[in-house]
């Protein structure tokens, strides 16, 4: 379609000698052509969005109304909101939610803290520090599968590194909480050994990204402020705490928000390290639960409800973060 896209903005300018304004009809024509071009350019993206994002999004709510029978081939029953209620109050769901939240609570703050540590250390003017920066960012090149296969094999009791230290069960099959607390209420919130191992893998894989992000944030802290603080008598720790950290807070906030969203969508590591939701389902994060229902139980309806729950929780968490955390961020203006 060459005509609209090729539309010369001043039609016939070369041949028209007069400077009189274009007649109304022509101007209207031009506006229509411009609008048409605009819609045309948006069309490809919009089509993709419509088919693969909007339509599924709304259809998902609809799917939640139907329960899938246990045997294939039978039609689905309309159960309305009952399925929503059943699924969302089931202990399976609540456990999965708990696992997801615990996982996020471990990986996000630790990941950010380590990123800051690496970024601050690599920010100094030392000779050859560029090599260290390259090392620290290297895990960006590891994909989910690479990191998971590496750690999975390293932690396996047969061929891993921990053979001398531990026998069966493998760390990744260990459902025990990492800290043994007898109080059942607290105990249910302690991550299992398996979950911790998956968390460590995730943190390691994200280190490169976290490092790059925090380094970029550090660039925004002017060197002069550090110098002024040094002359004012502040030692390295005080300089970090009173000058660097506050000025880094916008970046940290961004990392928290985006990091939490990604943490809630973790899937690959779980599937590769602890298939079927791990020992006693202690690594059954929501995304895995959804996958499990889809792939193995073939329960579309339930999966749909769970997906909505995941969306809701993520949205809620983001809103909470904006409400409460952003207050402590010191923007310059």
């Amino acid at each position: 379609m060459s005509t609209p896209a090729d539309a010369v903005v001043e039609p016939g300018a070369a041949s028209r000698p007069a400077v009189a304004p274009a007649p109304r009809g022509r101007r209207f024509n031009r506006a229509v052509r411009e609008a048409g071009l605009g819609y045309l350019l948006l069309l490809p993206a919009f089509l993709i969005f419509a088919v693969f994002i909007f339509y599924p999004f709304f259809r998902n709510f609809y799917l939640g109304f139907f329960s899938t029978p246990p045997f294939p081939g039978q039609p689905k029953n309309y159960v309305g909101l009952d399925q929503y209620k059943d699924v969302l109050t089931s202990s399976e769901f609540l456990d999965s939610l708990k696992v997801t939240v615990i996982f996020a609570v471990i990986t996000v703050p630790v990941g950010i803290a380590l990123g800051i540590l690496l970024a601050v250390l690599a920010h100094q003017k030392l000779k050859g520090v560029a090599i260290y920066r390259a090392f620290f960012s290297s895990t960006v090149a590891t994909s989910i599968a690479v990191a998971s296969v590496i750690f999975g094999t390293l932690l396996s009791p047969q061929v891993g590194l921990l053979q001398g230290i531990q026998t069966e069960p493998s760390i990744l099959q260990n459902p025990d909480p990492i800290i043994n607390i007898s109080l059942p209420v607290i105990r249910s919130f302690i991550p299992s050994v398996a979950l911790t191992a998956v968390a460590v893998t995730t943190i390691w894989q994200n280190l490169g990204l976290s490092f790059i992000l925090m380094s970029a944030g550090l660039q925004a802290v002017p060197d002069e402020l550090q110098e002024a603080a040094e002359i004012d008598g502040a030692g390295p720790w005080r300089r970090f705490w009173n000058v660097t950290l506050p000025l880094l807070s916008p970046t940290i906030f961004f990392a928290f928000v985006v990091g939490s969203i990604f943490a809630f969508q973790t899937f690959g590591q779980i599937d590769l390290l602890t298939p079927r939701g791990g020992p006693l389902k202690t690594t059954n994060v929501l995304t895995y639960y959804i996958y499990d229902q889809l792939q193995f139980s073939k329960n579309d309806g339930k999966a749909a409800v769970l997906a909505i729950a995941l969306f809701g929780v993520t949205l809620l968490l983001t809103l909470i973060q904006f409400q409460f955390l952003e207050r402590r961020v010191s923007y310059e203006r």
Partner: protein
């Protein structure tokens, strides 16, 4: 403002009239020690970060018996180079990598094109409901993947026949790429970049009789090259790292992407762990090379959101 001269030095503040300030480090040795300490800290951390990769490379060159032995070997004395060729051919790493490149390439190309077009429309054209449409584009970023997969799976299997027809290469790659050919993030990024181009350029182009197509291809895109490169790197990383969708959509082992392929490799090489490790290294290398070349763009792309807030 008071008028008397202010007493300085030797006041009660710190009692340092004429006395040495204790915190001064003695001599040049103090400074050297500090700098050395910093290198030590950096090296320790670098070691911790790189250790898994190092061990992987080492293990890929050991014999299975060495790997399974109780005490770990840290340096391969007789490197088993064959593991790499094994992973490449028998392990299908070649196919997996090829598939990943095709899948990722398609997605990156699609996202670049749609984002440039959409960004251009939002930045330079006027049409009704422009603002609403832009908000809609941005809203797509809020919808998490898990909500859409259920329906998308059905859509894809119905139209592209991926499940029934195992040899359906075209269908599989279409299924892998098409849902991701557009991104709200890209449209947003390009719009911002185009908006930052000097207005004079557009005016000059109008006077020169440039149509929109020519302005887009000859002026706007070349000037937006850094952002486009950053977006490309960012899209590349996201697409390459996809796991859940390729897992659900590819059945034929020949068509698996490298993420899923590695899972398969590990399963079929339980007794040949070194081959699995070799496969992992092979999957790791292309990204390392790419990221070494495109470091700057990588940083830009990853921090585009952070800097703009």
């Amino acid at each position: 403002m008071s008028v008397e001269p202010i007493a300085l030095r030797g006041t009660e503040l710190s009692g340092k009239a004429g006395t040495e300030v204790e915190a001064a480090r003695p001599g040049k040795r103090g400074r050297r020690v500090r700098i050395f300490g910093r290198y030590v800290a950096l090296s320790v951390l670098a070691f911790v970060v790189l250790f898994p990769i190092y061990i992987t490379i080492v293990n890929s060159l050991l014999q299975p018996s060495q790997i399974a032995a109780k005490s770990p070997t840290f340096f391969p004395t007789s490197p088993q180079w064959h593991t790499y060729s094994d992973a490449w051919t028998d392990g299908h790493l070649a196919s997996y990598l090829r598939n990943s490149f095709i899948q990722t390439g398609l997605i990156v190309a699609g996202q670049l094109v749609t984002s440039i077009l959409a960004g251009y429309a939002f930045a330079f054209l006027r049409f009704p409901f422009k603002r609403t449409l832009f908000v809609v584009f941005l809203a797509t970023l809020m919808v998490p993947f898990e909500i859409t997969i259920i329906t998308n799976l059905q859509t894809v299997s119905n139209t592209l026949n991926v499940y029934d027809n195992l040899g359906n290469t075209l269908g599989t790659f279409a299924a892998l790429a098409v849902p991701f050919l557009a991104t709200g993030f890209g449209a947003f990024l390009l719009r911002q970049t185009f908006l930052q181009l000097p207005k004079d350029l557009q005016d000059a182009a109008k006077l020169d009789g440039y149509g929109h197509l020519r302005f887009l291809t000859r002026v706007a895109v070349p000037l937006a090259r850094p952002t486009i490169a950053a977006l490309a790197v960012f899209s590349f990383l996201s697409a390459w790292n996809q796991y859940l969708w390729p897992l659900l959509v590819t059945r034929d082992d020949q068509l698996r992407t490298v993420q899923i392929g590695l899972k398969q490799l590990r399963a079929t090489n339980i007794d040949q762990v070194n081959v699995t490790f070799a496969g992992t290294v092979l999957a790791f290398i292309p990204l390392v090379i790419l990221l070494l070349i495109f470091q700057k763009q990588l940083v830009r792309g990853l921090t585009a959101g952070a800097v703009k807030g």
